[in-house]
């Protein structure tokens, strides 16, 4: 230990020239390294999308979109069943996920500090971390087992569980972003709470909510694991045929509807998976084409959601 006055001269003198060049070199190296790492991380993105585009486009034909699969080993055919399956599954999932999701989000936004509100937050976090295969198991146990058969309904429910946390989280954030005075103004006019929400707050937050829905749909449309034992797959599925045959045999609307949702269905990712495992090159090629369609849909949804975000945030600022 030294005192102030004495041996102050024994203090080491800071001499920057000692390690100056080493510091500068280290700085340059590490900074360029981070740039390199960023490029390295983005390389797979370009690689994957590039390959999907190249390989997939080789097999994309009009027939691909409009025909059902041909028997194994035969060339040609399409994935109409998968496209329609994806559509139905998404509609069912949206139906089950969106209204409860928005309502639960409203509750959490209003009562963030109650035990129920905190529990909902916690559950949303937990649900978003549940592996999708387990969601599929849940769907199996809940629907398939009780009904005795695989169905689009089961698959749609499983996908709904996947969409649910995303919708709750984004809706809650959007509601919290709407200005307080909107709500207070409406309530002060004597409007009941439900009307306040339906006519004032939700319309104000709608663009953000739609963004959340689009992102949730994009996520759900790419999921395979939950569908493995709920929707299972169905190469003969074609809604047009179901409807027309139903009309011809004079079945009621309800029974036609039933036939649409109570059958096993394919989806694009599910078809992709199954085809990729098969030893027939035609099927593998179609897997690439299905990948291209799937990436196209997901990219489109993401881009639209982005544009919504830019549009909606500038809208909110304008207010």
């Amino acid at each position: 230990m030294i005192t102030n006055q004495a041996s102050a001269n024994s203090l080491p003198l800071i001499r920057p020239e000692i390690n100056y060049s080493r510091r500068k070199l280290a700085n340059k190296l590490m900074l360029s390294f981070t740039g390199l790492l960023t490029l390295a991380a983005l390389a797979p993105l370009v690689w994957i999308i590039g390959f999907v585009a190249i390989k997939g486009s080789q097999t994309i034909t009009w027939a691909f979109f409009t025909q059902l699969p041909r028997p194994l080993g035969m060339a040609g055919g399409g994935v109409l069943n998968a496209i329609e399956g994806t559509l139905i599954l998404t509609i069912i999932a949206a139906f089950f996920a969106i209204p409860p999701g928005i309502l639960a989000a409203i509750y959490v936004a209003d009562h963030p500090n109650t035990p129920l509100g905190a529990s909902v937050r916690f559950s949303t976090d937990v649900l978003s971390g549940v592996p999708s295969i387990i969601v599929g198991l849940f769907g199996y146990a809940l629907v398939v087992k009780t009904q005795g058969h695989y169905s689009a309904l089961a698959g749609g429910l499983a996908l709904a569980i996947i969409m649910f946390p995303i919708i709750v989280r984004t809706t809650e954030e959007m509601i919290k972003l709407t200005p307080r005075n909107l709500r207070e103004g409406s309530l002060a006019l004597g409007a009941p709470e439900w009307k306040t929400y339906l006519s004032v707050i939700l319309p104000a937050a709608i663009k953000g909510i739609i963004t959340g829905i689009l992102l949730a749909v994009a996520r759900a449309s790419g999921e395979t694991a939950p569908l493995l034992f709920t929707a299972l797959g169905n190469e003969r599925y074609e809604i047009g045929q179901i409807i027309s045959s139903g009309i011809r045999s004079r079945q009621g609307v309800w029974s036609i509807f039933n036939r649409i949702i109570e059958q096993p269905v394919d989806s694009l990712p599910l078809t992709l998976f199954k085809y990729s495992q098969q030893p027939y090159p035609e099927r593998v090629n179609q897997a690439w084409a299905a990948a291209l369609v799937l990436i196209g849909i997901i990219l489109a949804l993401n881009i639209i959601a982005r544009l919504w975000v830019n549009y909606s945030s500038s809208n909110l600022k304008g207010k």
Partner: protein
């Protein structure tokens, strides 16, 4: 001017018609009932999932007990003799996820540092979006690209290289023993693809943590004559450490639950080797592959038992991650960097 005519309304508050009209006009009670119901549904859902798989695994749990999950050198998974040991799957999940984390960590840190400190302002959003896009690519497409492109072109040659270089080392060599199959199907393949898939998660959260660090810390470091790298490495990263840890654990959670891409490239075999270069199996993969064609009720129950382990693991890790990220969010001082 005429006085306003008041419409005569019955004030009999006990009449049924009044009560009905009141509810229809205001509807607050049904509304909050609806909200509470839906909120309760979320919580119920979480418990329902846990409960259902717990029940479904009852048979297997009773029979196999804890020996099911214990590490063992020659595990068997035999539906016919009903001898089930899940250790190969647990090992597979842990080995691939942790390896993926080790690979993704430096890359994600690099991206986060680049995006928050070095990148020019106009490039930040587009690059950040591109990194997020990596997370939007479906798992199956990673698998497809993996099987036909990534594995033959990169993983297989890399694996042979690794077995030459590391295979004969004393302790580490165990992880690199044996040779990688020609197809490239191996735990290494799964780890590599998983690392690509979880990088966006870790990078995005880390970038947000760094951006939230008050600029006064940077100013203090620069005013002392630090280079940019010294500021980042010695001041900013230590400052955001708990948030970064949370990001890492979040990434781990994602890796644990990944199914399709892993199933397609890991080889799906319980060979008995611990090596990363050999094919393996994960908890999610075995469920995906065997559930639909389960041999009997016990087999099904055993698979559900596996899912219970996976569920508990994912939920615990997810909660841990959220706790760490929340803690950082509450700690950061008022002035955040614009």
């Amino acid at each position: 001017m005429q006085p306003i005519q008041m419409r005569a309304v019955s004030l009999n508050t006990s009449s049924l018609s009044y009560k009905i009209r009141k509810q229809l006009r205001y509807g607050d009670k049904p509304w909050s009932g609806l909200l509470i119901g839906m909120a309760g549904l979320v919580v119920l859902l979480m418990f329902a999932i846990g409960l259902l798989i717990w029940n479904g695994s009852a048979e297997a749990r009773l029979q196999a007990g804890l020996a099911f999950i214990l590490p063992t050198l020659d595990a068997s998974w035999n539906p016919i003799t009903e001898n089930y040991q899940a250790w190969p799957f647990i090992y597979g999940t842990l080995a691939t996820s942790i390896s993926a984390l080790a690979i993704a960590l430096p890359i994600s840190l690099g991206i986060a540092v680049f995006l928050s400190e070095l990148c020019p302002e106009w490039l930040r959003q587009p690059l950040g979006w591109m990194v997020e896009l990596l997370a939007a690519i479906p798992s199956v497409i990673y698998g497809l690209w993996g099987i036909y492109i990534f594995l033959p072109q990169i993983v297989a040659p890399l694996g042979s290289l690794m077995s030459e270089v590391f295979g004969s080392l004393p302790a580490l060599g165990l992880l690199f023993s044996g040779s990688i199959p020609e197809s490239g199907q191996s735990r290494l393949a799964a780890a590599l693809i998983l690392s690509i898939m979880i990088t966006p998660t870790i990078a995005a959260v880390t970038r947000d943590v760094l951006l939230a660090i008050s600029s006064s810390q940077r100013e203090a470091a620069f005013a002392l004559g630090s280079t940019q790298w010294e500021t980042i490495w010695q001041v900013l990263l230590p400052y955001g450490l708990s948030g970064i840890l949370g990001a890492v654990i979040l990434g781990l959670g994602r890796a644990l639950g990944e199914t399709m891409a892993v199933t397609m490239v890991i080889g799906n075999s319980i060979e008995g080797s611990a090596s990363l270069l050999r094919p393996g199996y994960t908890m999610s993969s075995v469920i995906a592959n065997e559930f639909a064609e389960a041999y009997n009720a016990m087999h099904t129950s055993a698979l559900i038992y596996v899912s219970v382990i996976l569920f508990i693991l994912s939920v615990l890790i997810n909660i841990l991650a959220r706790l760490m990220v929340w803690r950082v969010a509450r700690q950061t001082p008022q002035e955040a960097r614009a």
